[in-house]
């Protein structure tokens, strides 16, 4: 994983976790007022999207293509992915640079939060009445002091239903 990219957030990281055996650390992002966790290993960088080239006929969740320092990355809206309405008016596009299966993605979120540790003992079962679509994207759910946190499954996140 790329720790440098996360240096700002890593202040909350304590030594226990850096050598942490079974604990997962997770990067928190916010969309629509909800908090979601991403496995830090996938996160490469955080940046502001300036110009997006839309992809006609592409999956609706793909906002477009972005030039990230000379590399073309696919920008995905987490809001659309979670079937939330687009932010009105569009907030400045904050994106998480991620790599999945050799493809570069930019996951557009409303806000970024801290990197925290998840104690495996706090993991709870997926609520059975969770929306099916959401359930597919959820890797695990954790019970934290400040609330319940869903970890997103990065693989599913970037696996699009292809429609033509």
């Amino acid at each position: 994983m790329n720790r440098n990219a996360l240096r700002v957030e890593s202040e909350t990281v304590d030594s226990r976790a850096l050598h942490g055996d079974k604990e997962t650390h997770c990067f928190i992002v916010y969309v629509g007022g909800e908090a979601f966790g991403l496995a830090v290993d996938c996160v490469q960088t955080i940046f502001q999207i300036e110009a997006v080239t839309p992809v006609p006929l592409g999956p609706q969740e793909i906002v477009g293509l972005v030039n990230l320092r000379g590399k073309i990355v696919t920008a995905v809206s987490l809001r659309r992915r979670l079937q939330m309405p687009d932010a009105q008016p569009a907030k400045s596009a904050l994106a998480i640079g991620m790599e999945y299966r050799g493809e570069n993605f930019a996951l557009i979120v409303d806000e970024v939060g801290d990197v925290i540790f998840l104690n495996p003992q706090t993991q709870i079962a997926l609520p059975p009445h969770l929306d099916q679509h959401r359930a597919k994207l959820t890797e695990a759910v954790y019970r934290l002091d400040q609330g319940i946190l869903s970890m997103l499954n990065v693989g599913c996140l970037f696996d699009f239903q292809r429609r033509v």
């Binding site: 110009a51 080239t53 839309p54 992809v55 006609p56 006929l57 592409g58 999956p59 793909i62 477009g64 293509l65 972005v66 030039n67 000379g70 073309i72 696919t74 299966r101 050799g102 493809e103 570069n104 970037f158 696996d159 699009f160 239903q161 292809r162 033509v164």
Partner: protein
């Protein structure tokens, strides 16, 4: 591997290819001392180095060959046998070299037979005394002279013939000082440099764009310098990747020689422009298309020697391959002086295949007619040969050329010859493209497919018209289909519509236009492929970063044509409805015969196992039926002749039909002909013995129903064997494989429906279609073949439906995955016998377990 051995292999492999070519050149013109000298030196060098490296097998072989070539060099006649023998040796040396490259040691076995043959040839060529060959260490002098003027040598040798006159080819004899000027660089290193330069070009463009807005005198001068240096660097790297076409041409004389032998024709190959350079990647990519074109010229173009003489042409047919360089493109012309394309036949065939209607066909120009030979599955050759086959070919050549951004065209003059022109871009990595603007969106369109841009306004005189709602553009005397890119791409309007511009493009043989707002720029773009999550979008072929740093998508003309619906006419899977698949272009060979009064009768030749002529004495009547004795067995005969007609004494033709391992005969009057025609039943038959009436070659014939006679002659075998008409669903996302496999299955007696995806396949079942087995590609977007099998079996009605996996290769991992998904097995896509074998085995066992199925099949067939 040993450094020395490595060097030896690299050096020798390069020159051994040239040896075959030089030899053919020499055979044609024995006065060409330069050619034989080169081969001699090559073998001499190999022999010497082998001794040094301890490669005994190669040394022995090259030693005797060298002696033989030495004889030739000294004036012994080059008989075809000698040349063939040396060519065989060249192949053997290549084989040993390839083995060495892989294992660093010589292969097991010996070349005694070959060496003996060479020795025998050497002894029989009674020419100069043996010591001539012993003066082996001498050739330094001729070597040196060859080196100083390698080009002049070939020029004087054969006039305009300039096969592989590239200076690179003579390096075999270079001295040490010369060799120091070249170093070997791996292709990977060159590729890496090319990528870096591409990135540098992009960055340079970005910088230029920035300074265009922020005028800064201090930066301007160095930036200009950087810019021109980058351009020079790009140019230099491109050049480093360039290879002379001579490398490719080198293999052609040998090919043509072999074709001449196989076809028993006299062929003469002329190559020009061997020093024309092309990106090395492209040189390899055009090898197959070029080879195919040559085969075509030799096989179909050039007439047989007798015919040529009768026509007043020289006995020897000339095939000319000419490469020239113009404006960023290489043009390679392959022409012959043969009979030319049979345009009438092509016109007829295009019509028969439904590519054009009769009215259109009449109005098409010769060039347009000629273009049909690039349509899939189009072949007018009535005969099948091993040289160029038939039915496949030119369409694949065209696909190959177009996939590298090139184009192919054909011009022909009846009786004078045919010329194929290939237009190939110099490189793939960087392509000029138009930057189009549509409603505020920008797209790049590679220039190679663009013919022209037409402004649509009252001044230009061009206007768009609608034909029943569809847009067309009247351009000069043509009417082109046109589509608005805004609608094609379903764009959200971001800007205002500022007037229409039609970009006219050509995709294969179709010309069409797209409407855009403006062309804002023409830029060299570095094409990057789309990422996996977008790769399914057929309208885009990639993306790139423009000078201003913005990302644009690159339009794919072929994909756009597909999306608009200008599909290739032969794409018969478009509809994807549950219908019995009818191969649109399959010709059937029919046997035409006379039997009884009325029209001629016809049966597909494939149903006839053989034809026998039986004397009346062998035909008996038993139990009211005709039978004949046949291989110690009684074979039932069904007479198709009038009952009162007497049998001829010793010559009664019998068509033997095979069914389910048994045979039966049809007693007929006379066999008229065997023809190949498309089965087009125009009037359905009334009697059960006749399928219908059709026109074959202008004559009215009755197509007989073989099953009717089989039921009479062999009722048991019929129900057991022939009637097994199973219905197969073939699922593959690639039209290529659907097109390839569907006819194969049909030919094997199955009924076939195709689907382009797992979803489509499920939809067919949901609509109530019944299939006896499913053959599915494993690797498809969205739903893999494995997932499809799971889904199918999850429905209790289809729990036992046999599903067969198709994969590129039936690798153990695939077989295992298939088994885990409940499939019956896995086969490779190109392994036809395995597929048919598996289908018949599975369906048979499936069928035996289900008596109701059997009765339903017999019922259905009856």
């Amino acid at each position: 591997m040993d450094e020395l051995l490595n060097d030896f292999l690299a050096e020798t492999s390069e020159h051994i290819d040239a040896a075959g070519e030089q030899l053919v050149l020499f055979e044609r013109d024995p006065s060409n001392g330069g050619a034989i000298g080169k081969i001699f030196r090559l073998f001499h060098t190999i022999k010497g180095t082998c001794g040094f490296l301890g490669l005994t097998r190669l040394e022995q072989l090259t030693h005797v060959t060298e002696s033989l070539i030495g004889r030739l060099r000294d004036g012994a006649p080059a008989t075809p046998e000698t040349v063939s023998l040396i060519l065989t040796t060249v192949d053997r040396v290549k084989f040993i070299l390839a083995w060495l490259a892989n294992t660093a040691s010589e292969p097991e076995g010996d070349d005694n037979a070959l060496i003996e043959a060479l020795q025998a040839n050497l002894n029989s060529s009674a020419s100069p005394p043996a010591e001539a060959t012993e003066e082996v260490p001498a050739p330094t002098a001729p070597a040196a002279s060859a080196e100083t003027a390698p080009l002049a040598e070939t020029a004087t040798g054969s006039g305009s013939v300039e096969i592989a006159a590239s200076p690179m080819r003579s390096t075999a004899t270079r001295t040490a000082s010369n060799r120091a000027e070249t170093i070997r660089v791996t292709v990977g290193a060159l590729e890496r440099i090319m990528i870096l330069v591409s990135e540098l070009v992009l960055t340079r463009n970005q910088l230029l764009e920035i300074t265009r807005h922020h005028e800064d005198a201090t930066v301007k001068a160095p930036l200009q310098r950087l810019s021109s240096l980058t351009t020079d660097l790009q140019d230099a790297v491109m050049r480093a990747r360039m290879q002379p076409l001579g490398r490719l041409f080198a293999s052609l004389p040998r090919l043509v020689r072999e074709l001449a032998v196989d076809l028993k024709k006299k062929l003469y190959l002329v190559t020009e422009g061997a020093d024309t350079e092309l990106d090395r990647q492209l040189v390899e990519l055009i090898r197959d298309p070029l080879t195919h074109l040559l085969r075509n010229c030799a096989d179909h173009g050039i007439e047989s020697p007798d015919k040529r003489l009768a026509l007043g042409k020289p006995e020897e047919g000339t095939i000319k391959v000419n490469a020239t360089h113009e404006a960023g493109y290489i043009t390679i012309d392959v022409s012959d002086d043969g009979r030319g394309l049979d345009l009438e036949r092509i016109r007829y065939k295009a019509q028969a295949k439904g590519l054009v209607n009769a009215a259109e066909a009449k109005n098409l120009s010769d060039d347009e007619i000629g273009r049909f030979i690039f349509a899939p599955g189009f072949s007018t050759s009535p005969s099948v040969t091993s040289i160029s086959g038939r039915g496949i070919g030119m369409d694949i050549v065209r696909d190959n050329i177009e996939s590298i951004g090139g184009s192919i065209s054909v011009t022909t003059t009846a009786g004078k010859g045919t010329r194929f022109s290939l237009k190939i871009p110099l490189t793939l990595a960087i392509a000029p493209a138009l930057i189009l603007e549509v409603r505020g969106h920008h797209f790049a369109l590679p220039q190679h497919s663009v013919i022209e841009a037409v402004r649509i306004d009252s001044d230009s005189g061009h206007s768009l018209e609608r034909v029943q709602g569809s847009l067309v553009l009247r351009l000069r005397d043509e009417v082109l289909p046109v589509a608005d890119l805004e609608q094609v791409l379903d764009l959200e309007a971001k800007g205002v519509d500022n007037g229409a511009l039609v970009i006219v493009m050509r995709v294969s043989s179709r010309v069409f236009g797209i409407i855009v707002d403006a062309v804002t720029d023409v830029q060299e773009i570095v094409v990057k492929p789309l990422s996996a999550s977008l790769a399914h979008l057929e309208v885009f072929s990639g993306h790139t970063i423009l000078g201003d740093g913005s990302v644009v998508l690159i339009l794919d003309p072929t994909g756009i044509a597909g999306r608009i619906g200008f599909e290739r006419a032969s794409d018969y899977t478009v509809g994807r409805t549950v219908e019995t698949y009818v191969p649109a272009e399959e010709n059937t060979r029919f046997i035409l015969f006379r039997a009884g009064p009325g029209a001629l009768k016809a049966l597909p030749l494939s149903l006839v196992a053989r034809i026998e002529c039986v004397p009346a004495s062998e035909i008996r009547q038993s139990d009211g039926n005709f039978v004949m004795q046949h291989h110690q067995q009684i074979m039932p005969l069904v007479p198709l002749i009038p009952a009162d007609q007497a049998l001829s004494e010793d010559d009664n033709p019998v068509l033997v039909l095979g069914i389910g391992g048994e045979s039966m005969g049809l007693l007929i009057e006379e066999i008229v002909d065997v023809v190949e025609a498309r089965l087009d039943v125009q009037i359905a038959g009334v009697s059960s013995s006749v399928i219908g009436t059709a026109e074959i070659r202008g004559a009215v014939v009755e197509i007989l129903d073989a099953t009717h006679f089989m039921r009479i002659g062999r009722p048991n075998a019929y129900s057991r064997g022939f009637a097994n008409q199973f219905w197969i669903l073939l699922v593959d996302d690639k039209p290529f494989f659907r097109d390839m496999l569907a006819p194969l299955l049909i030919a094997a007696g199955y009924r076939v429906t195709t689907a382009g995806s797992g979803e489509d396949a499920l939809a067919l079942f949901d609509r109530g279609a019944h299939f006896d087995a499913v053959v599915t590609d494993t690797d498809m977007p969205n739903m893999s073949g494995y997932a499809l099998a799971h889904q199918l079996h999850s429905d209790s009605r289809r729990a036992s439906l046999p599903v067969i996996a198709l994969a590129a290769h039936a690798a153990p991992s695939v077989v295992q995955a298939a088994a885990e998904s409940g499939m019956c097995g896995a086969v490779g896509k190109f392994d036809r016998p395995a597929l048919l074998e598996m289908l018949s085995r599975i369906l048979e066992s499936h069928h035996l377990n289900k008596h109701d199925l059997e009765s339903s099949i017999i019922g259905a067939a009856a």
